[in-house]
């Protein structure tokens, strides 16, 4: 059974990626085939930022749904009031699950952002944040 494709990127101010994680893989070590796939996922996610920018001006809602497609992969986006973008690369999941997942990610993100040492360009490296995101992904996408 092919591993589910699931990749989360959080993009902060001035288009800086502040968090990237591959949630589909069960183990932590990437094989060579997975590395090529990871490059592709990263490329698709960053390329979809243009589509997110266009759509976020058309609606005041935070959840933008599926903003971009590539082959069988879809990118869903969630943009906060402060224009922080959460992007999820997936291969077809229910919109409601993704919506709830984004809300959980937003909660965790808010706690991390209260750290006074974080600047707009700092990458989030907290292991607790990673484990919370992985836990949320396991809850919603298993």
């Amino acid at each position: 059974m092919a591993a589910p494709i699931l990749s989360l990127v959080i993009v902060g101010h001035e288009d800086h990626p502040i968090f990237e994680v591959d949630l589909g893989s069960r183990t932590a070590e990437p094989s060579t085939r997975d590395e090529r796939a990871q490059y592709l996922h990263q490329f698709v996610l960053h390329a979809s930022l243009d589509a997110v920018e266009e759509q976020l001006w058309t609606t005041p809602a935070m959840h933008l749904g599926t903003v971009d497609r590539f082959n069988n992969l879809q990118v869903s986006a969630y943009v906060t009031a402060a224009h922080i973008k959460f992007l999820l690369l997936h291969d077809g999941r229910s919109d409601d699950t993704i919506r709830s997942f984004f809300r959980d990610v937003y909660e965790c993100y808010l706690r991390v952002i209260m750290n006074p040492f974080i600047t707009p360009t700092t990458r989030i490296t907290s292991a607790l944040f990673q484990s919370k995101i992985r836990g949320a992904a396991r809850n919603y996408f298993r």
Binding site: H13, L56, W57, P60, A61, M62, V79, T80, A81, A82, H83, I84, Y106, L110, I113, M114, P116, P120
Partner: protein, 173 residues
């Protein structure tokens, strides 16, 4: 899961901000280095804006952002709402707070005061130092919501303080 909100005494916040100004006045040998206070305030303003707009959909218009500032941001940070908002519809907004809480305890030695005008001028000068931080908090919050601006405060009619927000014009091509 929502955490139970913890509360602290407002006197504690007053003491903290007053001490910040006093400390940086000592660091700057008598004059307050505004840039330091502004850096602190902007950082705080950015984080506060992210937290307080948690469930709010994005605000596309500058006016919506300013209105949010007058109601929700002011309510959370300064414990009341802005009393009057004026605009020239060309990017300048004046937010008038008739009883600004952060400067309500500022007093000047009565021995230095002369006539009425000199008294207000002296209190205004003393208050100006304490207004760098609130201006920077407002500026940081607005910038985090996508409104690039400059914020100044006018304390010449204490206890009322006028905050002027000048939105930077979009870059011409």
């Amino acid at each position: 899961m929502p955490a139970k909100p913890r509360v602290a005494a407002e006197a504690g916040l007053d003491a903290l901000t007053a001490e910040l100004v006093r400390y940086y006045r000592a660091v700057g040998h008598g004059t307050v280095p505004a840039a330091l206070l502004e850096a602190i305030g902007q950082r705080v303003g950015r984080a506060l804006a992210e937290r307080y707009t948690r469930d709010k959909p994005r605000m596309v218009e500058h006016l919506d952002v300013i209105k949010w500032t007058c109601k929700e941001l002011w309510g959370e940070v300064f414990r009341k709402q802005v009393d009057s908002l004026r605009t020239n519809h060309r990017g300048t907004f004046v937010l008038k707070d008739n009883h600004f809480r952060w400067t309500r305890s500022i007093s000047v030695d009565p021995g230095d005061l002369g006539a009425g005008a000199a008294a207000t001028a002296a209190t205004a000068a003393a208050a100006a130092d304490h207004l760098h931080l609130p201006c920077a908090i407002i500026r940081g919050a607005l910038q985090s919501l996508g409104v690039d601006c400059a914020v100044t405060a006018d304390p010449s009619h204490l206890p009322a303080v006028d905050f002027t927000v000048v939105i930077a014009p979009p870059p011409t091509r």
